[in-house]
Subunit: 190 residues, 2 copies
């Protein structure tokens, strides 16, 4: 990629999200995204395989961030607290990119096919987090449960953060959902 | 449906699962399923829209069972215990159809596209359970969390039950996974 386009990827992502928001994901073409960004289609395809990839390229980065968070957590942390530490790091990352995250969420919420893709990505994320826990010596079933429970808490907090549109930090919602989980479990007999 | 084919649907389901298990889901045709069941393609299409439907027709029934379980739970039960009561009912249903459930799971585990479909069905199931909890007066975020956490526990217990292939009851694994959840939450600070 040439030095004269340092922000090409970001510009393409921005242009795509604007267009998806304006006209719906299905009706936007790669040619239009490139034009809005002031770049060529060829440049688009140097950065993304297709127009859906613009929305999901960040998932690999999120997975790496969560796995690194699990790997870096203090060894004496419980499995769920280990996941929580990794999710706190992810919450900071999303807070830095809140505009992108919110717009992206609105596009996905409006499109059932994208919602399915998002679900699949989240499940794959949970599997990666469970694998990272297992590498710390957590038993398989417990690792899966900690990863899935942690990501359920995160997903619910994330949705509330998007709905609140800037009134409160994602980390606040995350702490609140974690308290909900504790109350649900401690307050019952299961 | 004629009275001379009382078990046509069951025979078709059985034949389909046998063939999927023998040759893989992708390589089996509806014509072959009908032939194995000793029925016509036309009969197949009176019961199922396509060959994937054979595997997923039960999801609606499971949803109805879980929602009815939530609706029927004692009003003083906590949200998570309400989900647990509904899941106990589902566990009994699966135990009665264990051969079908195990074969089906093997077919799905062997096919990434079917795994994705299963994930989507599970998410839709969690949403239906959350809706049922909200009708009992549970707040939206808590309802989603109870439903998703409960189904995560169930999914992990279910996978272990299939792996154990008859050594123990699904209800045992469910109780064990519930204990895992409690230990995870109570044993940490999150």
């Amino acid at each position: 990629m040439g030095r004269w386009q340092p922000a090409a990827r970001e510009r393409l992502g921005q242009a795509a999200l604007e267009l998806y928001g304006e006209r719906g994901f299905d009706d936007v073409t790669v040619a239009e995204i490139a034009r809005r960004a002031g770049l060529t289609e060829r440049t688009f395809f140097r950065h993304f395989t297709d127009k859906r990839e613009v929305l999901f390229a960040g998932a690999d980065q999120l997975r790496d961030l969560l796995v690194a968070g699990v790997d870096a957590a203090a060894p004496n942390l419980s499995p769920l607290d280990t996941v929580a530490a990794a999710l706190d790091g992810a919450a900071r990352m999303f807070e830095e990119r809140r505009e992108f995250a919110w717009r992206r969420q609105a596009v996905i919420a409006a499109n059932p096919e994208l919602q399915e893709r998002e679900l699949i990505k989240m499940a794959s994320l949970a599997a990666s987090v469970a694998d990272a826990l297992r590498r710390r010596g957590v038993a398989a079933a417990e690792a899966r449960l900690a990863a899935q429970t942690g990501l359920a808490v995160f997903g619910i907090a994330f949705a509330r953060w998007v709905d609140a549109a800037g009134e409160r930090m994602l980390s606040d919602f995350l702490a609140e959902s974690a308290r909900d989980l504790r109350r649900l479990v401690v307050g019952g007999r299961w």
